[in-house]
């Protein structure tokens, strides 16, 4: 077959009318009209209807066509015709055309599908399918089928175009794409590393990069001046719904630049990327300091799509007689509130008191929440009587309260807790009250982060990483109070409350760097051990430099408005960091572990009750919780030795077959259920009749703990 003649299904137009076309693709859907067979043929470009008519196609072609099923891969040759008036399909681009087939070649047959792939209805007005309802694990297990769906095709194509846009834009600005190693040393990013054992250096490990941080700075010292990379990064973090153990980050670093250079560069780049999804970002991006963001929204990832700004009211209660507020003030705490304008109809006393004050605010970490509704110019609340008239007036004034408004306030001895709780309530209320406008994008730069955070033992630790430049260099490394007042030259890009990336201007003066390490309490020796090779480079004329990294999976997911980043990754891991398609991660042969010198490492693991588990027999006795009498040992040792031989034989004899677990597995895992009920055997206590020890209605066992 000469594929060079092939025309894409979705690209057929009126120009092709009455001409012959060779089409290739997959059977999306079919409809049999007693001898007349209609098929939606789908390829990357779209769908076109092809027709097998006994009046046009040879009998053998019609016979073969009858055996076609969903997702058969076929090539057809036929004549492009206009559809009869009234039979056009508005769901597909080529809906006014159809192709009368004269030749059919089945290129690949398909078994019955694990889920439907077709998303386009064949008839005008009919509803289309969709795999959104399909179990995600099943989709990921058959990802190659999932990718055939037009939504996934679009997601991956647009991801590719966004990446292309990044490359073209940065190239135009003089940035050089450089790859940095995947097998590398652990870097100070703070998450757990994925480790790769070295065979050549037994019991030594490479770490997969959490980010190319050190390398990109070394490239700056290497005089490359402008670097970028679409870098794969790896973090072995605790599982969260929208996180992947490996992810793609756009890594950028430049020399002889300042923050303004990066803001302009990233704003232009971000705007171009979002434009590919038809989204126009407002420019310039507004900026907020960390302090402003925390103050107004309670978070360093402010969502600015809606108001509900937090306002401080601590001073109003300077001399309050309301005991709770007074105590909190005396302990250095704060009182902050939000005016939820015009929502008193949706926020009844019941909702405010029983849901928000009793359940929701405590679940965010608050001890309580105060609320007031404004009616007839007066504040209404369960506790309003505790506030003086002056305090009430001051509140109305401070929060610009009007009828129909609802004021919520959180007071806490810890300003951090008060901010955090009120910030979470802000998001909760915005969501609940529908205050978040759809299709609005609010980017913001968050700047001036604290350079250090206090540690529990009275010292400080880096908020970002120890190479971030401080806003001033004349600090005393021993003065913790002064250290905590330092700001960093770091910046985060936040859109709609989601952090898409961040970066900083780095320290290039080795004297400043030394003072930072001193502030962190690291000795010369520790510094050399941890960052020696890196710091050595700063001894040879390091240029001022800085950069930023953007989480591209999140960027693409936001542009495409997908519910999860897994929708924009071709082969993602599932929520438990496993790949349902390949089965990774998987155990390896003992031989491989032996080669890597890892067998003894396993033996070092200490399990509870592990004191005497040096022998294999004792280990097995422990894991299967079966005690051994001394006299049994020789027989059991022999049994295990025999099992080890069987294991070797099975390894030699096993073929490539899929393992089976049953001669005839049930095909339906779920059967029509009956009502859940307590077993009559439990109700009348017979279930306990065979138990060696019973207490009341329960089986009695030994104490749990050692």
């Amino acid at each position: 077959m000469d594929f060079s003649e092939r025309i894409f299904c979705g690209e057929l137009t009126q120009e092709h009318l009455r001409r012959e076309a060779l089409l290739c693709g997959w059977v999306d859907a079919y409809r049999d009209h007693g001898g007349l067979l209609f098929i939606h043929l789908r390829d990357r470009s779209g769908i076109v209807q092809i027709v097998f008519s006994p009046e046009y196609a040879p009998a053998e072609v019609c016979r073969n066509a009858a055996s076609l099923r969903a997702e058969y891969c076929v090539a057809v040759r036929g004549e492009v015709r206009k559809r009869l008036p009234g039979t056009e399909n508005p769901h597909i681009e080529t809906g006014s055309l159809e192709v009368f087939v004269s030749e059919l070649t089945v290129l690949g047959e398909a078994e019955p599908l694990p889920f439907a792939i077709s998303e386009k209805a064949m008839l005008a007005g009919a509803s289309s399918g969709g795999a959104e309802q399909v179990n995600e694990e099943l989709r990921m297990q058959h990802r190659y089928l999932d990718i055939r769906r037009s939504v996934m095709q679009r997601n991956l194509a647009l991801r590719g175009r966004i990446f292309q846009c990044v490359r073209e834009f940065l190239d135009s600005r003089g940035f050089v794409e450089v790859e940095t190693p995947i097998l590398t040393m652990s870097t100070p990013e703070g998450a757990r590393d994925y480790l790769v054992p070295s065979r050549v250096h037994p019991q030594s490990f490479y770490a997969l990069p959490q980010s190319p941080q050190l390398f990109k700075q070394l490239l700056m010292i290497g005089g490359l001046e402008r670097y970028f990379q679409l870098a794969r990064c790896f973090r072995d973090e605790d599982l969260r719904p929208n996180r992947q153990p490996e992810f793609t980050q756009l890594d950028i670093e430049a020399s002889f630049i300042d923050e303004e250079f990066l803001y302009e560069l990233i704003e232009e780049l971000t705007a171009r990327m979002f434009a590919l999804g038809g989204i126009a970002l407002p420019r310039p991006f507004p900026r907020m300091t960390y302090a402003e963001a925390m103050d107004a929204t309670g978070t360093d990832r402010p969502d600015l799509r809606f108001g509900l700004r937090m306002v401080d009211a601590t001073d109003i209660f300077a001399a309050t007689s309301y005991g709770i507020f007074r105590q909190i003030r005396e302990r250095g705490g704060i009182v902050k509130g939000i005016n939820i304008q015009g929502q008193s109809e949706k926020l009844s006393k019941n909702v405010l008191q029983n849901e928000y004050a009793r359940e929701i605010a405590p679940s965010f970490g608050a001890k309580g929440m105060t609320w007031m509704r404004v009616e007839g110019g007066k504040l209404e609340s369960n506790i309003v009587q505790f506030f003086s008239a002056a305090e009430q007036e001051a509140l109305k004034d401070r929060f610009r309260l009007a009828d129909g408004d609802v004021l919520i306030m959180v007071a806490d001895p810890s300003p951090a807790v008060a901010n955090s709780v009120l910030g979470q309530l802000r998001l909760h209320l915005a969501d609940r009250l529908g205050l978040i406008p759809p299709d609005v994008f609010c980017p913001v730069w968050v700047t001036d982060f604290p350079l250090f955070e206090p540690t529990d033992d009275g010292g400080v630790t880096s908020s970002h990483h120890p190479f971030t430049a401080p806003d001033r260099a004349d600090f005393d490394p021993a003065d913790v109070a002064e250290l905590l007042s330092l700001r960093s030259r770091a910046y985060d890009l936040v859109i709609n409350g989601e952090e898409l990336g961040g970066g900083s201007i780095r320290i290039n003066d080795r004297r400043v760097q030394r003072r930072i390490f001193a502030a962190l309490g690291l000795s010369e020796e520790e510094v050399r051990e941890k960052f020696g090779f890196f710091l050595r480079a700063f001894d040879f004329g390091a240029p001022p430099h800085g950069g930023l990294a953007l989480g591209m999976d999140r960027v693409v997911a936001m542009i495409l408005k997908t519910p999860s980043i897994r929708e924009v990754i071709a082969f993602p891991k599932n929520r438990s960091a496993a790949c349902p398609l390949t089965g990774a991660p998987a155990p390896v042969k003992e031989k491989q572990l032996a080669e890597l010198g890892l067998l003894n490492l396993g033996g070092r693991d200490v399990l509870p009750g592990d004191a005497a588990k040096e022998s294999r027999l004792d280990r097995l006795s422990w894991v299967s919780r079966i005690g051994i009498a001394e006299g049994e040992r020789p027989l059991l040792e022999a049994a295990i030795a025999r099992a080890a031989e069987l294991a070797v034989r099975a390894g030699e004899l096993a073929g490539p077959e899929e393992p089976i677990r049953s001669p005839a597995p049930p095909s339906r895992r779920i059967r029509p259920g009956r009502e859940a009920r307590r077993s009559p055997l439990a109700v009348d206590g017979r279930l306990l009749g065979n138990a060696p020890a019973v207490k009341g209605d329960y089986f009695k066992v030994a104490a749990i703990l050692e």
């Binding site: 155990p587 042969k589 003992e590 509870p608 009750g609 294999r616 027999l617 280990r619 097995l620 006795s621 422990w622 894991v623 299967s624 919780r625 079966i626 005690g627 051994i628 049994e632 027989l635 059991l636 022999a638 049994a639 295990i640 025999r642 099992a643 080890a644 069987l646 294991a647 034989r649 099975a650 390894g651 004899l653 096993a654 073929g655 077959e657 899929e658 393992p659 089976i660 677990r661 049953s662 001669p663 005839a664 049930p666 095909s667 339906r668 059967r671 055997l681 017979r686 279930l687 009749g689 065979n690 138990a691 060696p692 020890a693 066992v701 030994a702 104490a703 749990i704 703990l705 050692e706």
Partner: protein, 399 residues
């Protein structure tokens, strides 16, 4: 009688209510009979009394059978050492005996007692209430003096049971049987099974097949080069499943609690250490070894199992049924290790691996010749029984 039976219910006069007694059925205590001490012959279930009837038991009762007692068995019915399986039928105390068939016990017990032994297809008879050990291989085996009680059992007990959630979603098997005619029936002989028999048993078995040719059956040699691997797969998969199944014997819901444990782990170690005999313990440790130290071996065994299923399907498709020996004269009479049990079940374990039915057909009484084990594809149970009846007729010179 007390040497055959571990438990006999209080005597009732079977004719007291005027109804004729149905099949008198002896039960191995691996099958639950409500209120009876069905302890599976295992210390792990010491003092245990079943709370409900196994599905096969309740269906037999509905069909009018009379339960005569519980027979003596080895631990969990695994192997025949310590078991009296077959003796109740042989002695005339029962028309039917039910046992668990884990690796061929029903056929081996039948060979020992000179009676009929039948292992039905896996998945056709409910295992609800069977105190099992190897879920993917075990089933309820049937012992009888002749074919009709076996057919009666299948008609009463086989078919779907919503309480056994491991059953495949299949209709009840076709039990109509059908006709077996000598002139149009091919009997396959598994070459590698014969090769595994030591001399002179091999020659004797070959000679016995002459009866078939004389009766007009076509004999056809069928090759199954992987036949020796059935035991390997059975032992690895069986040990893993047994190790898992035996996890439930934790001295909490049943069994005996060993005294002196200070915490849960000690309670498990002590109670479970005393709950299993040394042979079974060897098997459970092998299972633990495969699970915790050599998991790939289990996966590999399951791969080989897939290959064996395909090879057996190819073999059974070449003949109307296959004939094999049942017993291994080279095996020790008493089993002290799992390996001894696998030596004894060398010719029977295959059907447990594949789930296909197998019938032991005894030689006519008084004749010194080997019995035959017949087998066919899964769910060909009725055809196999019909073939057995037909051959029995030939052996007795009837047809």
């Amino acid at each position: 009688m007390e040497t055959i039976f571990a438990y006999l219910p209080p005597r009732t006069d079977p004719l007291a209510d005027g109804a004729p007694p149905g099949l008198r059925t002896a039960i191995q205590p691996c099958l639950s009979v409500a209120g009876w001490p069905t302890d599976a012959g295992a210390p792990a279930l010491a003092d245990y009394a079943a709370l409900e009837d196994a599905t096969v038991v309740s269906r037999l009762r509905q069909a009018g059978a009379t339960l005569v007692g519980l027979t003596r068995t080895g631990e969990f019915g695994f192997g025949l050492t310590g078991s009296q399986a077959g003796m109740a039928v042989r002695s005339g105390a029962a028309d039917l005996e039910l046992v668990v068939d884990l690796a061929g016990e029903s056929r081996l017990a039948a060979a020992r007692a000179g009676i009929w032994g039948f292992k039905p297809s896996w998945g056709t008879v409910s295992r609800f209430g069977v105190i099992g050990l190897i879920p993917s291989m075990e089933c309820c085996g049937i012992l009888a003096g002749d074919a009709p009680p076996i057919g009666e059992f299948l008609r009463a007990a086989a078919g779907p049971d919503e309480r056994d959630f491991s059953l495949p979603d299949e209709e009840a098997p076709d039990l109509s049987g059908g006709r077996v005619a000598a002139g149009e029936t091919t009997v396959g002989v598994v070459v590698e099974a014969l090769d595994a028999l030591p001399s002179p048993a091999r020659e004797a078995f070959r000679a016995s097949l002459a009866t078939l040719t004389a009766a007009g059956f076509a004999l056809r040699e069928v090759s199954l080069p992987d036949f020796p691997l059935f035991a390997l797969v059975h032992q690895i998969v069986g040990a893993v499943e047994a190790s898992s199944s035996a996890g439930r014997y934790d001295s909490v819901r049943y069994g005996r609690r060993s005294p002196g444990a200070k915490n849960w782990n000690e309670m498990y170690l002590l109670s479970r250490g005393a709950a299993f005999g040394t042979l079974l313990k060897s098997y459970l440790f092998q299972g633990a070894y495969f699970q915790f130290e050599a998991y790939e071996a289990y996966e590999n065994a399951c791969r080989i199992r897939a290959r064996l299923l395909a090879a057996m399907a190819a073999a059974t498709s070449q003949a109307d049924f296959l004939v094999l020996p049942a017993t291994n004269p080279a095996a020790p009479a008493k089993a002290a290790t799992p390996e001894d049990i696998y030596a004894q079940s060398r010719f029977t374990a295959f059907a447990n691996v594949t789930g296909q039915p197998a019938l032991y057909l005894p030689p006519p009484s008084g004749e010194d010749r080997p019995g035959w084990q017949l087998t066919g594809p899964r769910r060909s149970d009725a055809r196999l029984l019909a073939a057995g009846e037909h051959l029995r007729g030939i052996l007795q010179g009837g047809e």
